[in-house]
Symmetry: C2
Subunit: 460 residues, 2 copies
C-alpha cells in the first residue's frame, strides 16, 4: 500500500523502459544529469513548498525488477526483438546515481530544480516517472496547506481529507505533506503511526444518528472519552444540541460545527458556552472549508479556535496539479560533456547543472533568487540545493523517530514563511512574481547551445 520496502521497477511509463533498452542495446554509455523542476506556477499560487524527498529517496534506494517484472516485459510485443543484455541489465538494476535536492519544507519558485539526478543515462531515465509522481504530489499538497494555514493566521488547522484524496496512499501522503505545510495534524490514523504526526478526531454525524436521542449520543460518548471529546452539534439543530450538552452538565473539550451558517453559529455558541462558564470549550469548524472561506470567516469575526480542512486540501482542489517536469540538462560522454536544452516553441529548458542562490534583504525578507551553474557562487546568496545521495546511498541516516524528520521540514517551512515578502505570501495572485533570474553564465550557455542547435540541429 505505502512507499516502503521494495518498489517494482515497472512503476514507470513504458517509454522509460524502451529508451533504457535503446541505450543498453546501442551501448550508449553516457552519464546524464536530469533536473526536476516546475515550469510555471499553477493558478492562485505565488510560491511552492518542497515536499516528498523522503519517499523519493526511499524509492531510489529500493526500486528493483523482479523476475516476474522481467518476464512480463519480455512477453510484450515491443520487447520481443530486444537483446537479452537489456533484461540482464534490469535484473541487476539498482540506482547508483548522485542526487542533490531542496530540503523538505523549502519555499521555491519556477525554474528552480527541486531535485538533480546524475547517473548512467538509462538509470536516470528509468526513475523519472516515479520521482515526478512522488515529488509532484507532496509538493502540491504542502503548497496548498501553506495557503490554508496562512489563512488561519495562527489557529491550528487539521487535515481531514483522506476520504477524497486520490486513493488510500494519497490520503496518507497528503497528511504528511499537509503537516509540512503547517498543519497541526491529521485525521489519518495510519499517517499518525507512520510519520509520528498528531492525529485528531472524535465523532461523526453517524454516531448521533445511530442513537435514538441526541442527548444520549453525547452522554454515551463523554462516558468513553471523558477528557477528549469534541461533540458534533449540527446534526439536527445547533442551538438545541448546545442546550442538551449544557444540560448534561459534563463539559466536553470542544464542539464542532460542520455545516450551515458557521459564522453566526460560532458567535451564538461562544456566547452560550461562555454564559455557562465554559470559556475553555473550544469551537472547531469543518465542512467544505478552504483558505478563502477561512480568511472570510476570520475577517467577519467568527469565534473559531481551530479548523478541519478536507477535500480542498487533500486534492489541492483549485489547482490539482503543477507543471512539474524532469529534463535532461547534461550528457557526459567521458571525452566530451554536452549541455542539453529544449527549444520547441513554448517548452524551453535551460542547459547545465544548476544551483539556486537565495538573497535576503535588509528587512530580513527574501529579496531574490539566482539560478546559476553548479560551480558558480554568489556573495550573500545562500545555496539551496544540498547533496542527499551519493552512488545510490543516502547521505543522511533515516531518523529512528520519524517525527524528527517531519518536524524539521515543518519548521523549515515556517521559518521560510516568516521571510516571504508580504505580496508573495498573500492568498491573491501577486501582481509581480518573486524575482528569480538566471545567472549571466547560464544565459550565455543557453544562447550558445541554442545557436548550435538552430544551425545544425545538434546540441552542445
Amino acid at each position: 500500500m505505502l512507499p516502503s520496502g521494495s518498489y517494482s521497477g515497472l512503476l514507470t511509463d513504458l517509454y522509460e523502459l524502451t529508451m533504457a533498452a535503446g541505450y543498453v542495446q546501442n551501448r550508449f554509455r553516457a552519464r546524464a544529469t536530469f533536473e526536476l523542476f516546475v515550469r510555471a506556477l499553477p493558478r492562485r499560487r505565488n510560491y511552492l513548498v518542497a515536499a516528498g524527498l523522503e519517499q523519493a529517496l526511499d524509492f531510489l534506494e529500493n526500486v528493483r525488477f523482479s523476475k516476474e517484472d522481467i518476464s512480463y516485459l519480455r512477453a510484450l510485443p515491443c520487447f520481443r526483438q530486444v537483446h537479452v543484455d537489456f533484461f540482464d541489465y534490469l535484473s541487476e538494476f539498482q540506482f547508483t546515481g548522485d542526487v542533490w535536492a531542496l530540503s523538505e519544507g523549502t519555499v521555491f519558485f519556477p525554474g528552480e530544480p527541486l531535485l538533480r539526478v546524475t547517473a548512467p543515462i538509462a538509470d536516470a531515465q528509468l526513475v523519472e516517472t516515479s520521482l515526478l509522481s512522488i515529488l509532484h504530489f507532496q509538493t502540491l499538497i504542502a503548497s496548498k496547506a501553506a495557503r490554508v494555514t496562512t489563512a488561519a493566521s495562527g489557529r491550528p488547522v487539521v487535515e481531514f481529507g483522506s476520504r477524497r484524496a486520490h486513493g488510500v496512499e494519497a490520503g496518507v501522503l497528503a497528511a504528511r505533506a499537509a503537516f509540512i505545510g503547517g498543519c497541526e495534524g491529521t485525521s489519518n490514523t495510519y499517517a499518525g503511526r507512520r510519520f509520528g504526526i498528531p492525529v485528531y478526531g472524535t465523532q461523526a454525524h453517524s454516531w448521533i444518528m445511530a442513537h435514538k436521542d441526541e442527548a444520549d449520543a453525547f452522554r454515551d460518548f463523554l462516558k468513553v472519552f471523558p477528557e477528549q471529546s469534541t461533540l458534533l452539534v449540527d446534526t439536527y439543530d445547533v442551538h438545541a444540541a448546545i442546550e442538551k450538552i449544557i444540560a448534561l452538565g459534563r463539559k466536553p473539550s470542544g464542539v464542532r460545527l460542520d455545516s450551515g451558517d458557521v459564522l453566526t453559529d460560532s458567535l451564538w455558541v461562544r456566547q452560550r458556552l461562555d454564559h455557562a462558564g465554559w470559556n475553555d470549550v473550544q469551537i472547531f469548524a469543518s465542512g467544505d472549508l478552504d483558505e478563502d472561506r477561512i480568511a472570510a470567516l476570520l475577517q467577519d469575526g467568527a469565534r473559531i479556535d481551530a479548523f478541519g480542512v478536507g477535500t480542498a486540501l487533500s486534492t489541492s482542489a483549485d489547482s490539482p496539479n503543477v507543471g512539474m517536469i524532469y529534463k535532461l540538462v547534461e550528457v557526459d560522454l567521458g571525452e566530451t560533456v554536452r549541455s542539453a536544452a529544449k527549444f520547441s516553441q513554448e517548452k524551453i529548458t535551460y542547459p547545465g547543472r544548476k544551483q539556486v542562490s537565495r538573497f535576503t534583504g535588509e528587512d530580513g525578507k527574501f529579496s531574490s533568487d539566482v539560478i546559476g551553474l553548479d560551480e558558480e557562487s554568489f556573495e550573500g546568496g545562500a545555496p539551496l540545493l544540498v547533496p542527499v545521495m551519493r552512488e545510490g546511498r543516502r547521505l543522511e541516516k533515516v531518523e529512528k523517530d520519524p517525527l524528527v524528520t517531519m518536524q524539521r521540514a515543518r519548521d523549515r517551512y515556517l521559518a521560510d514563511r516568516a521571510r516571504i515578502p508580504e505580496s508573495i505570501l498573500a492568498l491573491r495572485t501577486a501582481e509581480f512574481p518573486f524575482p528569480v533570474r538566471y545567472s549571466t553564465r547560464l544565459e550565455a550557455l543557453h544562447d550558445q547551445v541554442r545557436q548550435t542547435v538552430a544551425g545544425t540541429a545538434r546540441i552542445g
Copy 2:
C-alpha cells in the same frame, strides 16, 4: 505500494476508531446499513461511471489490525481510558458484513448508492474512510475518461498521466479507471502487468536530446524497435524531423506531436507522409490534451489517429473531486429497526436501504431512474445494485486473468454509453439533468422520519 495483501486498519480517520470504541464500550450492538453515494454532480459532469469495486472488496477482505497498530492506538492520549474490550475487538477484527454494489462500468447519477454495506455498526463505521477513498478516486477518473474517450469519437486514447497523478498508487489506479472509462491502454507499465491492460510508449524528448544529431536518435531507436516505433518529432523542428525520418528510409509505425500547433502540424505531416507513400504511418498527438482540446482538434479537421492524455485525465483536473459520502440509513437493533436520515440544512440524506431501477425508452436509450426501497420492484425497471459480498466473503471469484474483469467493466461502460441520451453524453453541462426520482414509498418514509426528528430530535 499497491492495494493487495493486507491493509492496516489504521488506514482510516481517527473518529471512525473513537466511534467504534464508543460502540464496543457501550455495548451498542446494532447492525447498521450505510450507503455510499454522490450528493451532486461535480462541475461539467452529466453522469458518473462506477469504478474501484475490485479494490474496495479486496480492502474489505484483507483489512486487519496488527499488534503494532493496536500498540500505537493504546498509547494515544484519547484511548488511554478506553476498556481493553475494544483492543480485543480490534485484534480479532475481520469485516463480516454484506455488500451490494453497482458493477464497475455502470453509469450512475447523484443519490444512487454505488455501494451498500450492512454490518455490525462498529465494523461498518471503521471501513468508511478507505471505502470512500478507493471508490471516489477510480469513479472520478473513469468519469473523466468517459468524457475524453467520447470526445475522441472512436479514435484510441491512451492514458499518459502517471507522473502527475497524486502519487505512485494513484498513477496505477488512474490507469485502471481510465481503461474502464474507455481508454485503449496506458503508459503505466505496472498497471499493464497488474491488470492486464495494454501498455504504450516509445520515446521522450530526452532520447532525442541525448543524441548529438536528431537523425541519429531516430535511426538508433528504429534499430532496436524496428516494428513498433513512434518517433517524437517536435524536439526542435517538426518539418525538419519528418524530412530526416523520410531520408532514413526506414518507416516508423507512427510519429508523435507533443507541443506547438498540433492542428497545423498534423495536416502538414499527414500530407508529407502520404506523399512519401507512408499512408499507414500513424500520427499520435499528446501534450496538455483534454476532452475540450480533442473535440476542438477533430472539429477543425486535425489528422490525428490516436491521442495520449496525461495530467488532465489522471487528476481529473477540471473537477478533481466528487461530493461522495457514506451515510447511515438504517439501524437494526434486533427488536426494532430504525431508519436514519440527516436533515441539517443543506445536507439532507434519505433513510432506508435502497435499490435503483433504470428504465429504457422506446428508442433504446435510458429514460429515467427510480431510487426506491430495497424491497420495491418496478415493472420495466432494471435493478442496478447487485450483491457482491456476504458475511465478508466475495460472491464472485477473482478472475485468474485480470484482463477479463477489466474488459467486462469497460464493455459495460461502453454498452451503457450507447444508451445515454444525447444531451447527457454531451461535453457541455446538460440543461436538464438525467431524470432520477425517489419512489413514493421512499418519499413517505423520508417525511415520516423527518416529522419524528423535528418534533423530538429523535430518529424513527
